[in-house]
């Protein structure tokens, strides 16, 4: 007969009020858990996808949209930029630019985005091949790991791209030759896993069939891209040689003196955080409020059950239980409730996130998992225990102060 057993029995002898306290507590904990996990995974994904990119150059419009579409493949692209206008940035000996990667966006296959680019893209995101190799000519594609897995595609399979970013059979580009899969990448944990990558000319060819033969022999490179004076792309990812005063001027110069815009990922993403941060802190405040209310509910339920059990407390004193033992017993009941509530909440949180993740993934093509544990969850455990102990402190003191003589005389 130990006290864990006794407190468990006491709790299960009042199933309804125990259940209510547990559910409230678990609800708060699961909300906090989901927020923490989402925050953590989004931040990690966003950080990984930064990939050392200093600037994104694209058409005028919302800089956040340019970053989201160009780097995170979330929003719609801002528009096209003619290659004539970006010629200077494509020069190999540009004094400020270290590396550029062109992007042609706007097409998709079964909801996964197609990106027309050069093999430099793989260097940027540290892509390694699981099987196959990079394209050697247009109309060949390399698949991100998740795409190949979800769509069950293999090397040698072909597909027709579709206009726009939504899955829609009416928008399939017919009349062009199918795009052939020549490589599949290893999982990288970046947005690259969710993309179909192809030569930049593929995108032009499916839209405009005339070019198909003339270009196909040349190497897939920036220099080749620069030679297509009459074409346009969507954006340019730029790595600078160094981030200094000159680089800042370079960005301002683009924004003020050209038809292009240059956006800094870190600044835009921080702005995004600031915007959604309000929503997140509201949700967090709500979750904390629920947890506090559940703490109060634990307090009320223990306090009430103690009134009913006053005689039992006196009895335990008669049988040799010290005041401190009774104190510990009630504290243990609060502790047990809190730990169970935590366990339940964390379980619900993780399972709930997994469910949310599935719907997020089908609409945003971002993989979020409910089955990742993060260290912050242990802080929630400590906080839960603290709340359990605080909620049971007053009832526990009440139990310890039971007046045996009076209670027994009244209970006759």
């Amino acid at each position: 007969m130990n006290f864990f057993y006794l407190s468990r029995k006491n709790l299960s002898s009042k199933p309804l009020s125990t259940f209510l306290s547990l559910m409230l507590f678990a609800l708060g904990i699961s909300l906090i858990t989901i927020l923490l996990l989402l925050n953590d995974q989004f931040q990690k994904q966003f950080d990984k996808n930064l990939a050392g990119i200093d600037l994104v150059i694209g058409a005028k419009g919302s800089p956040l949209q340019l970053i989201l579409s160009g780097m995170y493949h979330l929003d719609a692209p801002t528009g096209n930029i003619p290659i004539t206008e970006i010629q200077p940035f494509l020069r190999k000996n540009h004094p400020l630019i270290g590396e550029v990667v062109p992007l042609s966006l706007g097409d998709s296959y079964k909801g996964f985005r197609i990106v027309g680019t050069t093999p430099d893209f793989f260097e940027l995101y540290k892509g390694a091949f699981q099987i196959g190799q990079v394209w050697t000519k247009p109309m060949q594609a390399v698949l991100g790991f998740a795409v190949a897995q979800k769509l069950n595609l293999k090397i040698g399979d072909t597909f027709q791209s579709s206009h726009g970013l939504k899955e829609d059979d009416d928008l399939i580009h017919d009349g062009h030759q199918p795009i052939q899969i020549v490589g599949i990448l290893k999982p990288s944990g970046t947005v690259m896993d969710q993309l179909l990558l192809t030569d930049f000319r593929t995108v032009w060819e499916v839209h405009n069939k005339q070019n198909s033969n003339s270009s196909s022999l040349e190497e897939s490179s920036i220099a080749t891209l620069a030679s297509f004076d009459d074409q346009s792309i969507t954006s340019l990812l730029v790595k600078l040689k160094s981030r200094n005063f000159q680089a800042l001027n370079f960005q301002r110069n683009i924004n003020e003196n050209t038809n292009l815009q240059a956006a800094t990922p870190a600044i835009e993403i921080n702005r995004l955080y600031a915007n959604i941060g309000l929503g997140i802190s509201l949700l967090r405040a709500l979750a904390i409020a629920i947890i506090l209310v559940s703490g109060i509910s634990i307090f009320v339920s223990l306090y009430n059950s103690l009134k009913d059990r006053k005689y039992e407390m006196a009895l335990m004193r008669v049988m040799g239980g010290s005041r401190f033992k009774l104190f510990k017993l009630i504290l243990l009941e609060g502790f047990t409730l809190a730990v169970l509530g935590w366990l339940l909440g964390v379980t619900i949180g993780h399972l709930g996130l997994e469910v949310i993740a599935n719907s997020l993934e089908s609409s945003y093509k971002y993989s979020i998992s409910g089955f990742i544990l993060i260290s912050e969850e242990w802080y929630i455990l400590w906080a839960s225990i603290l709340i359990g102990i605080l909620a049971s402190l007053v009832p526990a003191i009440g139990a310890a102060r039971t007046n045996i003589h009076q209670t027994l005389s009244e209970g006759k």
């Binding site: 007969m1 130990n2 006794l6 029995k9 006491n10 299960s12 002898s13 059990r309 005689y311 039992e312 009895l315 335990m316 004193r317 008669v318 049988m319 040799g320 239980g321 010290s322 005041r323 401190f324 033992k325 045996i404 003589h405 027994l408 005389s409 209970g411 006759k412």
Partner: protein, 217 residues
Amino acid sequence: MLVTKDLCYQYSNSQPLCFPNLECEKGGSILILGPSGSGKTTLLHLLGGLIRPTNGQIMLKNIDLASLSDKNLDLFRGQNIGIIFQKPHFIRSLTVWENLLLAAALAGNKPNKKRISSLLERLNIVHKLHILTDQLSLGEQQRVAIARALVNEPKLILADEPTSALDDKNGAEVAELLDEESKRLEAALLIVTHDNRLQTKFKKTITLAPSEKSGNL
């Protein structure tokens, strides 16, 4: 075994209740009689160490209860004093058997299951061990309460009106059990009662005088 001297207890704002000196040897028994308000329950709680006397001394096993700290008094009570109340009360969330184990655990004893089993056999409640105490009849409950009081082989058994809620048959059984078990354990048995049925069984009686100003009991 049990010796008291000049025992008095004063409730706030009332005259002190004073009690005659008691002496009870091993295996002996005393019936304490008196009208309500004479302080029978107060005396019992004093002897059980549930309250401390304002005056006087209680010696059990040659130990002065006043010399024990609160915590040690709790433990001493658990190990050496078994108390039976008029209406049996239990930890309602526990079964009969668990209530008995709890009594042993609270006194800091490892329960001797063999000995408890034979005690339960004598009390004729072996077959009711694994049900909740609410489901027992009053007579059965009182027998379980006796078993609980005896689990730790106490040296002093205190009973507060143990038979007054019972019918003649159950009352006689309970009185018989208390007598037998206290002799077996060589414990001092003190029964506080106004139940006249018990006077035929227990010869040594002390009658408390009604106090002039009755306390709140």
